[in-house]
Amino acid sequence: MTFDLLIGLLSVALLTATPVLMAMLGETLTQRAGIINLGVEGQMLVGAAAGFAATHSSGNPWLGLLVGAAAGLMLSTVHALLCLQLGVNQIASGLALMFLGNGLSSYYGTPLVGQQIDGFTNMAQGSLAQLPLIGHFLAQLTPTVYLGFVLVVLCGIFLYRTQWGLIWRAAGESADALHMLGRHPGLIRLVAILIGGAFSGLAGAALSVDYTRTWVEQMTAGRGLLAVGLVIVARWNPWLVLPVALIFGLSEALSLRLQSTGADISPYLLGTLPYVVPLIVLLLSYRASQRGTAMPQELAGVFRGMA
């Protein structure tokens, strides 16, 4: 009985963590190149709206994910323009993106409110569901969760096992050193912002097309911000993104579970869990993450709050 409970909890946790995971991966790559983008929230929102619209009109959830990623990428060009080209402060630029993404998604998403879509076909009939023991568990997951796993592996291998990944990491540590070697950290950072935008857009689409299968204004409710904060907890390491995203996932799953069991705790208080728990984890690990060489050094000024 309890085993089923735990499995149920874990599968919900994975489902709800996947958008955060994807956003975290994108922001990890961006920060590894030396740029912080608080606009992830805005990028997720446009991705959610655009992805939902695409799935609604085409009936194809995969197209929704693709369009969502494209929308996020397009919005991220604003951050690239402001920070890289004009030299605007990264925190301010990210916030501007957050406002813009919020506004654009709310405005263009107005006709989408209340619409419904089918989402991904149920995995319960597939071959994975036939596996012994874990089949039942795997069937509760959706293709986007598996996509998330694949992306984790791709990012991990890219950063730590390829020459381009090495150069990418060097851009986040010392733009000067790269200049000396005749490379262009600016170009790498541009690509990093765009890829981060694509990942965030994908994350938003995963949220609206797969997890909730609806569109509501401001539906990401801070997940993008959490993702940026949790990148620090994951020590900018793609391999750690999954367990850390699960911190959020489990908090949310727990909160939902407690609400549905009719527990006497107000759903609004429970609703603070997915914010409070990751925040506390962030605080506990903050000191430790500043120590040693885990943080890309080009971010040092931004994080120490030199506005």
Partner: protein, 348 residues
């Protein structure tokens, strides 16, 4: 007026003037792309902001919380802190202020209002001090913490009004009992203009902060802490202590915004205290260059924009979210122009 004086003034005007120009182009582009005639819309916006007595009063009403929230952003910014937490501080301040109103409902104005304000200040101060302490003690980036705490603050208010403080007499509508007049800021009526005493209070605080920050030793200390916290130690200043103090003061100012909205505008504590005034306030502070004097007119203009947004939604069926886009475009315009000017200066 010497040449360098003129040059000085013109360089200071560049950002607002060119920024406004860029904004108008972008805004016009947005409206045009959505099938509206830009000049038409601009006209309606002006009408909805300042066109008649009703518009002006709506503008003034919205200016009050915007102004408080802008002050709550600009003060930490003078120390180099980027706080986006006015929204949450607004909610939490309102929550704590409401507590005493609910328990002391029968008290007279000269007792109840000051008590409520005091508790609001304390509540807002707490909500602001928390990110301050985390920044001072652990070095955690205050931008991320303040925004996350916004969501938590809103949830806490929802908990209260859907739960223990819900007025049964409201037929399911989540809100507290109505606030008595003794809990509200007294109204000011001049001709057809109508506002309340929170407005002059906010303006007075802005002026006081301006003088303190620009001319006093304390203000210079803030600039020093912003410039180099380590070197500030040599002047006997403690960065951790100052961070907490400033964030607490900022929080209490935003809390006041929450209280005015709750008591005077909505008369109940309810889930939607604010139409994002915390974020609008943040924007106003940036647009005004974190200058307390300039914040006053900029807050008024923003109040006008939001008031017009209401009107646009009503008359032209343009969703209120268009004002969100306009605000974002304005922010981006000013950021770009100011960065571009800085680039030109550095190249010289």
């Amino acid at each position: 007026m010497t040449l360098s004086n003129l040059q000085g003034i013109s360089s200071r005007l560049t950002v607002p003037v060119i920024g406004a120009a860029v904004f108008l182009v972008l805004a016009a582009g947005f409206f045009y792309a959505n099938g509206y005639a830009p000049l038409d819309i601009f006209g309606q916006i002006l009408q909805g902001a300042f066109g008649n007595a009703f518009s002006i009063n709506t503008t003034l009403t919205k200016t009050i919380p915007i102004l408080f929230c802008a002050l709550a952003t600009a003060l930490p910014a003078r120390m180099g802190l980027v706080s986006v937490g006015a929204e949450g501080q607004l909610y939490f301040g309102a929550l704590i202020g409401t507590a005493i109103v609910l328990h002391w409902t029968a008290a007279p104005l000269w007792q109840l209002l000051p008590a409520a304000l005091l508790l609001t200040l304390l509540g807002g101060a707490c909500w602001g001090a928390i990110p301050g302490m985390l920044r001072a003690g652990l070095g955690v980036n205050e931008t991320i913490v303040t925004i996350l705490m916004n969501y938590i603050g809103i949830q806490l208010v929802e908990y209260a009004v859907y739960g223990p403080w819900k007025d049964a007499g409201n037929l399911g509508w989540p809100a507290t009992i109505a606030f008595p007049d003794s809990a509200k800021f007294p109204v000011i009526n001049i001709g057809s203009l109508s506002s309340n005493w929170a407005l002059p209070l906010a303006i007075l605080i802005a002026l006081a902060l301006h003088i303190l920050v620009e001319k006093s030793r304390w203000g210079t200390g803030l600039s020093l802490l912003r410039s180099n916290p380590r070197v500030a130690k040599l002047a006997g200043l403690s960065y951790p202590q100052q961070v907490i103090a400033i964030m607490a003061i900022a929080g209490s100012l935003a809390g006041l915004a929450g209280y005015v909205q709750t008591a005077n505008v909505q008369s109940h504590l309810q889930p939607d205290i604010s139409s994002g005034y915390g974020y609008v306030g943040f924007l106003v502070a940036w647009l005004a260059g974190q200058n307390f004097l300039r914040i006053i007119p900029v807050a008024l203009i923003m109040g006008g924009l939001l008031s017009a947004g209401d009107a646009l939604q009503l008359m032209a069926q343009i969703p209120f979210s268009s004002t969100l886009i306009l605000q974002a475009l304005l922010f981006i315009s000013v950021l770009s122009v100011s960065a571009w000017q800085q680039k030109r200066r550095n190249a010289a």
